[in-house]
Amino acid sequence: MMKMTVEETEQLHEEPETSAAPQQLDGADVLIQTLKKHQVEVVFGYPGGAVLPIYDALHKNPIRHILARHEQGAIHAAEGYARVSGKVGVVIATSGPGATNVVTGIADAMMDSIPLVVFTGQVATTVIGTDAFQEADIIGITQPITKHNYQVKDVADLPRIINEAFHIASTGRPGPVVVDIPKNMATGIFIPTDETSYEVNLPGYQPTTTPNFLQIQKAALAISTAKQPLILAGAGILFSKASDQLVQLAEKYQIPVTNTLLGLGTIEGNHPLFIGMAGMHGTYTANMAIQTCDLLINVGARFDDRLTGNLAHFAPNAKVIHIDIDPAEIGKNVPTEIPIVADAKEALQALLDQNAPNGNTAAWLESLQINQREYPLFYEASEEKGLLPQQVVELIHEYTNGDAVVTTDVGQHQMWAAQYYKFNHPHNWVTSGGLGTMGFGFPAAIGAQLAKPEAKVVSIVGDAGFQMTLQELSLLQEMRIPVKIVILNNQALGMVRQWQETFHGERYSHSLIPVQPDFVKLAAAYDLKGYKIETFEDAKVQLKEALASDEPVLIDCRVVQKEKVYPMVVPGTALHEMIGVKPE
């Protein structure tokens, strides 16, 4: 599907190996070699003074490199790539401004546990601390937003540090690792001695992956005796590739399943046991199920505040089983009767192996079905009103058969995408949850498409968030990456506007942006086909055509500005108090 014009350009750069004499390697050469050992197939980056030696080594020994047009674009693309491929996303940025430009992405990856290894250039060790040109203390800056970080102080340490960085980023609870490389470490000659270690040496880092047997027994007993059990499935299941085990457990014991925002896709969107997403804009059925269940089985979710609503009233009747690979998440927000520190797949498999007798959940499932019938997600469409964002998402779902990779930005459109796009498969949903980073969605789609070249990748973005990182349109132009950009254009910071309408007396302070670029012309400037869609009728024709294309396209959907995301748990209230659960 994709035309890899970049590979052609890469080939032009490749130079024939000439001298056969053993070459001395510098730190930068070792870095590239080590990346190859880790089977890194693509790196996202942007060059600059401090990383020139690394780019030179990359020139000699190429790895596919995606030259984003802003370091933030590079790191969000790496996140999208990591999310969809399950592999580590690799980023290179220069010192100072290059490094500070990736800070948002690092924080985003930390919040959503995305495995990244970020290489930042640094001024030479001889001048660190002197406010040298393009010096920034990226180790200090990223210390609270990385799983771990390193500054290389001896060229001989490089291979071990890189090996450790990949190990830390991708095991246990994944997360971003920064490796800061002073310029003289990249140019310094690598002279291995007997002391040089390539091995990971991390005595303080040993994530527990195997569940405690006694807790598994307790959990199995609780599951078979529960009358109203509920599974809350989070993104931990995706990292451990445990969707099959999740669905098996749910089906075996007839337990309904709800998802966190990030956990969408872990179970098929149309599965009869799936009751929709929970939380602030979750379904009424899912939130009421949490409030009335007698056993809540949290697998790989962290009881984030957008999920729990008012904690004091969260799941008042439930005994809680919490399966998480990070012990610090257990008991952090919600008291837990049965803690299981483990990899989700191992824990779910161990639970299945217990083969405990089934409880009877028929009455419980029926009561949930009544709620689903009584309180479905709803919107009120009419021709006079205009095109509704929910309609657009439903059409995208229809035209892609639920098989697309969907990335979103942050805001109302994100919630509508989460509510109305029903995923058939895991690892197809890419969104910024914990940090809620506007500007994430579009570059993430580029990374996602590189991870799955054959997939249909649709990036559902808001008109405002898209404008934060739209410079990456250049990548679509250059490489013909066939991402489908769908702007749910409400000419507003829609989510902000909604809150101002509801909580701030309709005072729309700096949230309406009627003056916009002509997005179709913008697309044309990047040699992309653009569409502008204003009615549902048009949408049915043009959206279908646009999504069917093998080319990158931009689709500007002019949607009703005043549409609000419902239902909603108002901050400070409990899940069962949610508003907007039925048409007025």
Partner: protein, 170 residues
Amino acid sequence: MKRIITVSVVNQSGVLNRVTGLLMKRQFNIESITVGHTEQPQISKMTFVVNVEDEQKLEQLLKQLQKQVDVLKVNDITEKSIVVRELALVKVVAPPTVRAEINSIVEPFRAATIDTGKNVVTFQVTGNPEKIDAFIDLLKPYGIKDLTRTGVTAFVRETQKVHTPQLSIL
């Protein structure tokens, strides 16, 4: 509640920053902190005195510390049988007229005189923090010119009277 927590760490540059930064990020108040090498050169030990609100917060603190890559071991030794020591240097105004009096006051504390001038004396005193508080209080009326305290370091005794309850999943 005040807790004494010891943390063994791999001696990497930046590890102290990571640990104190973590406490700051999670809104824990550090009352004092001491750090030094252990018998193994590549391992350092930190001793914190922190104020935490409740058991749940304490559990979070211990788990978050344990989660750091360079942290080897975390112990809350507050309820163990322990030896707690702090050292203070106190420079006090002591003209010849009151010097004998001051000396008799500090005597029971087994403080050492480490520097004397015409009108000032500097004492070094070690003990648990309460003892040092008392020492300082007694010298205050004479006029303290300078004061520095190291913060607490602590050791678990060989024989333990009681076993402390294990936190749920640590």
